[in-house]
């Protein structure tokens, strides 16, 4: 018995990385999946893997920044599988990077269109179909860059913070329809967004990310897929308006609170164990 038996899901950015891992996991848990992506080759490969994992799946070529294409994607789910229960707004890009003064308005707008407008559109066009079946679950990929600042990622940070708070405001509106709206804040996950343009590729990123957070390994797309599965399934029936952090503990500490067996930077200022008394004591 699968955890998503009988449910129909749309996953944007399903051709690679987290979207691909989630598509395959959802298919294995009994969902029928619309794999939506700009990348046709990758999307069709995901569809094959979904089918091999025991589920139904179709590919729908989708530019998530275009309203007509989001509408077509939702229509495809209905046409192929008869209903819509889960939308995972996941497609993403790095977007405009670098010093803020150097970012062009065009690059800024394109970043917001792909990272934030797409989530608005995914919610907007999923909701009518979910109402018809008495509820649903909308999941979006935000980021820890939506809850902390990251230098050189201004457009991405702003858009992801927008996704986190759009999740909250939308959750208030659709709770009465039993449509739950949540997002996931991944930390350092080794996906093509990170390793595609990296000298050394996937392996180099794996090594770099290994020591970037308290849990001593890089994040993998499957880590996010597992959270998406929880949020898509009825196990999270009372969860809405949340930003679920899956980051190996990266955002748990202050910037000076990393490393050290004592739990933080206290290693410099404080003794390694015992009790620190009033400062006037010898």
């Amino acid at each position: 018995m699968g955890r998503l038996d009988g449910k129909v899901a749309i996953i944007t950015g399903g051709a690679s990385g987290m979207g691909r891992a989630t598509s395959i996991l959802f298919a294995g848990e009994g969902a029928a999946v619309v794999v939506a992506d700009l990348n046709k080759d990758g999307g069709e490969a995901t569809v094959r893997d979904c089918k091999e994992n025991g589920g139904r799946a179709v590919f729908q070529k989708t530019d998530v920044s275009m309203e007509a294409e989001i509408k077509a994607m939702v229509a495809r789910a209905i046409k192929e599988f008869g209903r819509l229960d889960v939308t995972y707004n996941n497609a993403g890009i790095g977007g405009a990077v670098g010093p803020l003064e150097n970012i062009s308005v065009e690059d800024w707008d394109k970043s917001q269109a792909v990272l934030l407008k797409s989530v608005f559109l995914g919610i907007k066009h999923s909701v009518p179909e979910m109402r018809k079946v008495g509820g649903g679950s909308i999941v979006s990929t935000a980021s820890i860059a939506g809850i902390r600042g990251f230098a050189g990622l201004h457009a991405y940070c702003a858009a992801k913070a927008g996704v986190v708070n759009l999740t909250r405001s939308a959750s208030l509106e659709f709770a009465k329809d039993k449509i739950r709206i949540n997002c996931i804040c991944p930390g350092g996950i080794n996906t093509p967004i990170l390793h595609r343009n990296q000298p050394g590729g996937r392996e180099a990123v794996e090594e770099f990310l290994k020591n970037s957070q308290p849990l001593p390994r890089a994040g993998h797309p499957e880590d996010i897929a597992a959270m998406a599965l929880f949020l898509a399934s009825d196990d999270s029936m009372f969860v809405t308006g949340q930003a679920m952090i899956v980051d190996g503990g990266m955002t748990v500490g202050a910037s000076f609170g990393r490393g050290g067996g004592d739990g933080g930077a206290t290693g410099i200022a404080l003794p390694p164990a015992g009790f620190v008394g009033p400062s006037f004591e010898k």
């Binding site: 405001s169 009372f238 190996g248 739990g263």
Partner: protein, 279 residues
């Protein structure tokens, strides 16, 4: 195939409410469970229910106010089932209630001992056993009252906020041992803690809690058990230091957002333009 096959869990406060629902769910997913509680009658009933759901379970009488009792619950897990993979520090009570000036030191200290020191003790005594098996998952029941003011009594609110930040600081220390530390912030869940002293009891609590958050039903112990299962299972292998909110959307909005703004200070549709424009 269960999602906790082969794992051993200690659950405090497992005689009723959230702890009991979690014990039964964990047992059904293949875990062996130590049901730790002060309440022997409820604990033994939970044990029977866990066994009926297909898992192994034992009852261990535990007063979480006493560190040695928590140590004994951990030891019981190792003695009965050979290892420890999961501890759910869940036992709780309302604690000191009423105006801050009328809160006594005794009631304050006792509240902190049960709601906060017990979590510290649960972590402290679990870690050595979890290291032996190469990792583990520590889960604690915090509360939305640890995130906001006014969602619980003062001492309760302070203790639950402390549980959240203890979770974070310990997560940093134990990451290298692959011991994950997370907590859950339930919203309005109908449990004996809420209704045991309420005039009208459970039905009144159900009715009240069905109206306080965007999702129009009261929270159930099973809602929290499902989150505890996620955090206990390998599905959350890369999740640590988090406070997972399960509250039907209670904390997603500000108090102003609940229908009061719409139609009053903001139009109900369209676009709110520059303020100098005429409507």
């Amino acid at each position: 195939m269960g999602r906790l096959d082969g794992k051993v869990a200690v659950i405090t406060g497992a005689a009723s409410g959230i702890g009991r629902a979690t014990a039964v769910r964990f047992a059904g997913e293949g875990a062996a469970v130590v049901i730790a509680d002060l309440n022997a009658e409820g604990g033994e009933a939970a044990m029977r229910e866990a066994r009926e759901n297909g898992g192994r379970a034992v009852f261990q009488k535990t007063n979480v106010e006493r560190g040695e009792d928590i140590k004994a619950a951990v030891d019981r897990a190792v003695k009965e089932f050979g290892r420890l993979d999961i501890i759910f520090n869940n036992a709780g009570l309302g604690g000191a209630v009423g105006p801050i000036e009328e809160t006594t030191f005794e009631n304050w200290d006792r509240t902190m001992a049960i709601l906060l020191r017990a979590v510290f003790a649960g972590i402290k005594f679990s870690v050595p056993e979890m290291r032996k098996v190469g990792g583990g998952s520590i889960i604690s029941t915090a509360s939305v009252a640890g995130l906001r003011g006014g969602a619980g009594p003062h001492a309760y609110s302070a203790a639950k906020a402390a549980v959240i930040n203890l979770t974070r600081s310990v997560a940093i220390e134990l990451g290298k041992d692959r011991i994950r530390v997370n907590c859950i912030c339930p919203g309005g869940i109908v449990t004996p803690l809420i209704y045991s002293r309420l005039p009208g009891g459970e039905p009144v609590a159900q009715q009240f809690f069905s109206q306080i958050q965007p999702i129009p039903r009261a929270g159930r112990p099973d809602d929290i058990a499902a989150m505890a299962l996620f955090l206990a299972s390998d599905d959350s292998e890369w999740v640590t230091g988090t406070a997972m909110v399960v509250d039907g959307g209670l904390t997603a909005g500000s108090p102003l957002s609940r229908e009061r703004m719409q139609g009053r200070v903001m139009p109900t549709g369209g676009f709110a333009g520059p303020s100098f424009e005429k409507q």
